[in-house]
Each structure stands twice: as C-alpha cells, then as structure tokens.
C-alpha cells in the first residue's frame, strides 16, 4: 500500500470526499480543543499575551513534517506526489495582506472561523459569511482577476531544494527552531502574565 492513496488510485474522488469530511471533522475538533475557536484566544497572539496559535501551528508543522519524512523514508508515502502549491509572488503578497487584515480584524482565520461558528459564536458565523461572500465574489469575477491571479509565477519551492541542504538536515533544523520557539513562547507568556499581575496590583494600590 502506497500513499498518497488518492494519487495511487486506492479510492476515487467520491470516496475522497468522505475521507475529507472525516479528516475535516477531526481537524475542527482538534482546533476547538486547543482553544482556537475563540477570537479572544487568537488575539492573544497579536498582543503577545497568549501564544497558543504559534504553539499549535508549529506543533502541527513538525508533527506533519516528521510524519511525512519518516513515512517517506520507510517507503509508505511517495513524497514526490505530495502536492506543493505553486508560488505566484504578487497575487500571494496581496492575498496575504488582505488575509492578515481580515485575521487581525475578526480575530479568526478561515479554519478557526468555521470552528467558532459551529460552536455557536456569533463573530465566527459573521466571519464564515464574509469568507463565503468573498469566495463567491472572487469566483464571479475570476475572469477579470485571472491575469493577476496567474502573474509572477515561480513554480514550487521547498526548503530542501532552495537551500540545497539534505532533506533530513532541514527537518532537524526546523525541529530545533520549533523547540526553541516553544521555550521562547512560554517565556514571553510568563513575562506577559507577571506584567499583567504587577499592573493589576499597582492599580489596586
């Protein structure tokens, strides 16, 4: 049995939708469990009081990275067939800015807004509505947007091909950066907490 299962024809597109549904539910459950359905929690990231987003994202990245590397190494996963999105500098730069403004305004990103909406939060529902309207508008005007959408193409980049470092060395460096990042994040959180308690003590006095 070789993965990616869909690429190797283990199942067709109909069954892949069921798989996507199951994986999506699991993903949503994990997001909610890690507290990412709450805009307040996510905003803590921008104010450097709660770095849960950073920790959850980086944990997901190194878990997936190690899984992909080792599954590829023992021959279960064919890494060459894992889809790597292509880079289009200008459209992705602009898209990133719009995304960032939306993220900072709503306190939610696409995945977390769905989780937030499903758990009954009004701001989450509004963010989902906004996202769907945006998708619809972009789809309706895709003909006009297409030349820009496909401008400045640069193909796919991966860290091993860009740095010419061996794949495993890149994996190790990223794990190291993540672990150091976790330490730093916890230190920042401790500092923010002690700062906040000092402030509240000062206000009380």
């Amino acid at each position: 049995m070789t993965a990616p299962f869909f690429e190797y024809g283990l199942f067709g597109s109909a069954f892949s939708l069921i798989v996507a549904l199951v994986v999506g539910i699991a993903f949503g459950w994990c997001l909610e469990r890690s507290g990412m359905g709450s805009a307040r929690k996510l905003m803590g990231q921008f104010y450097l009081t709660d770095l849960t987003v950073f920790k959850v994202m980086f944990t997901a990245i190194i878990t997936a990275m190690l899984g992909i590397f080792w599954l590829g190494w023992i021959g279960i996963l064919d890494i060459a067939r894992v889809y790597v999105p292509e880079t289009y500098i200008l459209p992705q730069l602009l898209g990133g800015i719009i995304f960032g403004v939306g993220f900072a305004t709503a306190g939610l990103c696409p995945g977390t807004s769905c989780v937030s909406a499903v758990t009954g939060r009004g701001d989450g529902a509004a963010a989902v509505l906004g996202m769907l309207s945006g998708v619809l508008l972009a789809g309706l005007f895709f003909g006009t947007l297409e030349p820009f959408y496909e401008s400045t193409p640069h193909g796919t980049f991966t860290l091993p091909t860009m740095t010419r470092a061996p794949y495993g060395v890149v994996v190790f460096v990223i794990v190291g950066v993540a672990l150091a990042g976790f330490q730093l994040a916890e230190w920042i959180e401790r500092r923010a907490k002690s700062g906040a308690s000092a402030r509240s003590t000062a206000e009380a006095e």
Binding site: T2, Y8, L66, W73, G75, A80, P166, G168, F172
Partner: protein, 215 residues
Amino acid sequence: VNLRWLEQLGLARIVGGAALVLGLLAALAGTPDRARNARMDVESLARAVEHEEDHVTAIELAEWIKGRKPGLRVVDIRPGADFAALHIPTAEQIALSDLSRTPFRRDETIVLYSDGGAHAAQGWVFLRALGYDRVYFLRGGLREWLGDVMNPTISATAGDSAKKVFARVSDLSRYFGGTPRVGAAPVITPVVPVPAGRDSIAALRAKLSVWGRGC
C-alpha cells in the same frame, strides 16, 4: 522498571524530546525521496528480459490500442517537439527524467517508446526499479511502429500462412491509417499530419533518416 521519571518530565517534554530524537535521526537517515531510493531486484529483471516479458512488438501494441486494453498508457519519452511532429495514437509525452515523478497507478499497463529501443528500455528499468510491474517498452521504437504497423509489406511470392498473418496485420494497419503493400519496399511516411509551420515533411524525413543511431 521505574517510570516515575517519565511522569516527572511531563507530557510536553516527552513529546518534544521525541520530536528532537526523530529530527536528529532524520538528519542522519538520508533522503526519503522514493525516486532516489529505487531498489532493483536484478535477478527478476534479468529473468523478465530473458523471457522477453520486458517488451512488446509494434503489432502487439497496435492490438492493445485497437482493443482499448483497460488501463493502457502509451508513453512517448522523446522531446516535446518530436512528439508534436509525430506520435503513436493515444500516446502521452513524458520526458525520461520526469518518469519517476509521474503518477502511474499500479494497475496500469505502461508502454514506453522512443525513436529506437534504447531509451525506452532504460525507462523500463527505471520504472521497474520504482516498483511498477506492468511496464513494457516498444522493442523497435517508433521505427518499428512505422515499419510494421503503418507500412507492412509482404513479398508477392509469400506462402499461404504468411499471407494469412499479413491479412490480419493489414486490417490493423488500415485501422491506424497505414498502407499495407504487396511486393514493394516500405516507404516511410508520417503517421500524423504534420501541423503547418512546425515541421516540414522534408525535415521530418531528415529526422527519420538519423533514427538509425539507436535511441
């Protein structure tokens, strides 16, 4: 065994430590890229070659294409310009260097061909090393296709059994738009009409004349 120290360490440290160990081992483990880690069972490959299970003839391939063999993929590994000028019907163009990254399914029958037989035979080895079992190459390449399928000839004095075979091949040839001949020397003509402005017939003939070089 006393595992108290594990509890004292805490879950986050254990998981983090595991990630560090896996990351460190990854740095020493070498590439996980399947295309670079292909393994060859040289004995079974040699056996396949010995039993002539490694190639198909142009006639066999023509029968597969005409019979719409399920899961058949005919792969032209020549450069794109050559493919555009002339290729076997139903073929797709995949460069030899891209073969390892092409998503073939295990249940597909892959037939590789190039101008002659050599490059396709090398591609056959690559795909077998990557674990695909149903791989063949067209023994004599495009030249064999042009000769045996598109321009089959029979001597006017051939016996009855040869004539019977020729009748079958002629049917196949006409299906692909070929011209079976009796008693004449084969004249190679392009299978696919050459798109205007891309390649003249004369240039194509010149190309055909250098095919004798072997790949």
